[in-house]
Amino acid sequence: MATLRRLLARQEVIIALTIIILSIFIGLVNPSFFSIPNVFRILRSGIIVGMFAMGVLIVLISGGIDVSFPAIAVSAMYITVVFIRDTGIDSLVLSFVVAGLIGLALGLFNAFFIALFKLPTLIVTLGTLSLFRGLLLFFVGSQRIRIAEVSPVLSDLSRGNLITIDNPAGGVANLHIAFVFLVVLAVIVWLLLRYTMLGRAIYAMGGDLEAAERVGFNVRRTQFFIYGFVGLVAGITGIVYCSLSREADPFSIVGIELDVIAAVVLGGASIMGGRGTVVGTLLGVLLITLISSSLVLLGISSDWQRFVVGILIIIGTSIPVLQLRQRQRTQSAAQAV
């Protein structure tokens, strides 16, 4: 009983249960929910949010927030694609390197203001969100570029599949190769957070910044790492995004930040810092993806879809809050006895 209660106090378990219950419900309404093509579809549609979430998780644990990553991603993506178009250098590795470096540079730009000027992270990244995107649209361009017309290599990536099976309902079902990126990134972040002192420094900073300094962590250097890493991840995610969507549109991606942050918080990371896990975050991403991509299966009419998404997110996010309140009540009761 006590073990069960402790288990239920874990955000990951709550989210996993919510996912299971929701899945059973959708499956009852529409049995084709439990089919491999549908699983592949949901996994693929979580790739981008999931990759962004890995970066955001680190920032939230450290006690900061970053809302500029979509602008970093779209800048890195678009500049890289324009670079490929105009130079004709079409190499998979090079495009990832270029996008990653642009992302890293923009992330370090954030870090520079956050670490050296000690400005609030929300203010800095809100500013650079507009700044990066504005510069992109003004100086680089505002037109959609179809990947197929400029980069055969990226175009091949967009058609690359990890697993392909015959769909009994006709055609084929694929699990996109980009899913590997998400898995690799998640493993890296998990190892980083759990088995490196850098990762522990990030948790320590989120717990108590001053105490982290007293212990001897180099807080500034860690902040440079954090925001640089988010930038790097965003840059690479940008390239993955354009190969998934087969186009580079400078107006895309920005707007995804709320979904990503919601997923990470839903997964148990605290907006106040110090708490959060990779597993929880992935579950949070899965839940958000599940909710927003099962409305047709549930037969909800278009007029109601946004309403239903809103309701489900409110329910999903209030569970942990109620959970916490319950825990506090039990604690104070225990003290009173």
């Binding site: 084709s32 324009v82 520079f112 959609r144 179809r146 006709g170 055609g171 969507s245 087969r246 278009s302």
Partner: protein, 355 residues
């Protein structure tokens, strides 16, 4: 310390700028220009006609400029040119119109960015005796005439005919709109669905109007979900230019190019690769060069006083521009002329277009 920081700051800012400039290149699109339609009107006056577009530097309006230039070619005593703001901004467009009025033009052809924002400046233009023709603004008030490439219901029916024919007039289909609040998209699909129900009893509309929010990724994900929910889906009609792009991608990835028909409004530049793989079967649009040309033709006739309109009615024998495909037979409702100027593009002719 502070000094060193500000140096850092400047270096960073410069790096960003350099990065941005380094990759900013000239627009390379040069629309293929078949020859102009040729003169069919007698023009007695020397007219200056300005065409004001929503935004310069994008392929759509570059193509329109080609049409505007044909006017100058065909009618030597007409000076026709195109201008527009460099950024998508209603206020900037008003600024451009005001500057043109100050320079003194005889007629304005305006594609308003935001119809209600340009009303005051158009009103002033007309008070000064300038002829005002608009395009893509059928509710504009302070105008002489508006001209639309087609009537929305007729266009919706046209797309449904294309869809039904390729579906052998049977099977399940659904439709996409940019959003449920987008008036033109909903007019297109409403007319299409009504026409199907009347004429193609073996076809079934399934689900609901799907919203794509003008985002191909949303259209893609929605289409993937539809493929799971409706395994017998055989056709899709898109509305936003990105709808068929997302839908086509989902169809191609599922290997269903041959089973599912995808038609809709789009542009060759964003759908060419998917048309070539047959994931998209047909797209339709109107040629901005012809639309721009038609606007200017109306302006010239209004200036010359040769438009055959009496009491808001066209003459019995009809009216149109015989040399302008899709505008040969115009209809007039209130102050709005309608053509039938849609252009269908399939894998056969997709490479003829560069926007």
């Amino acid at each position: 310390m502070v000094h060193r920081r500000s140096i850092f700051l400047v270096v960073f800012a410069l790096t960003i700028l350099a990065l941005s400039f380094g990759v900013s290149f000239a627009q390379e699109a040069t629309p293929d220009a078949p020859s102009s339609p040729g003169a069919i009107l007698d023009v007695s006056g020397d007219w200056t006609i300005a065409t004001v577009v929503k935004l310069t530097g994008i392929a759509w309006f570059d193509r329109m400029e080609t049409g505007v230039n044909w006017v100058s070619e065909d009618y030597p005593n007409v000076t026709a040119f195109q201008q527009g703001p460099a950024q998508a901004d209603a206020a900037l467009q008003v600024q451009v119109i005001e500057d043109l009025l100050a320079q003194g033009v005889d007629a304005l052809c305006v594609i308003p960015f935001q119809p209600e924002t340009v009303e005051p400046v158009l009103q002033r233009a007309r008070e000064e005796g300038v002829v005002v023709i608009t395009h893509e603004a059928s509710n504009q008030e302070n105008i002489d005439y508006d001209i639309e490439a087609f009537d929305n219901s007729a266009y919706g029916v046209h797309l449904m005919e294309a869809l039904a024919e390729r579906m052998n007039y049977e099977g399940e289909y659904t439709v996409f709109v940019g959003s449920l609040t987008s008036a033109t998209h909903n007019q297109w699909v409403d007319a299409a669905i009504a026409y199907q129900q009347e004429n193609y009893p073996d076809m079934t509309f399934v689900g609901d109007k799907n919203e794509s929010f003008d985002d191909p990724q949303q259209a893609y994900e929605r289409m993937q979900e539809l493929l799971i929910a409706y395994p017998n889906l055989r056709g899709v009609q898109g509305s936003a230019s990105t709808d068929v792009v997302g839908v086509g991608q989902a169809v191609e990835e599922a290997g269903l190019q041959d089973q599912i028909v995808v038609v809709g409004t789009s542009l060759p530049s964003i759908s060419r690769d998917l048309i070539n793989t047959d994931a998209i079967d047909l797209i339709s649009f109107w040629d901005p060069a012809l639309a721009g040309y038609a606007c200017n033709m109306l302006a010239i006739q209004q200036l010359e006083g040769t438009l055959p309109v009496t009491d808001g009615e066209l003459p019995e024998e009809g009216f149109g521009f015989s040399n302008l495909t899709g505008y040969e037979e115009l209809s007039l409702v209130d102050k709005v002329f309608y053509g039938a100027a849609w252009v269908d593009v399939t894998s056969e002719n997709v490479d003829e277009w560069d926007f």
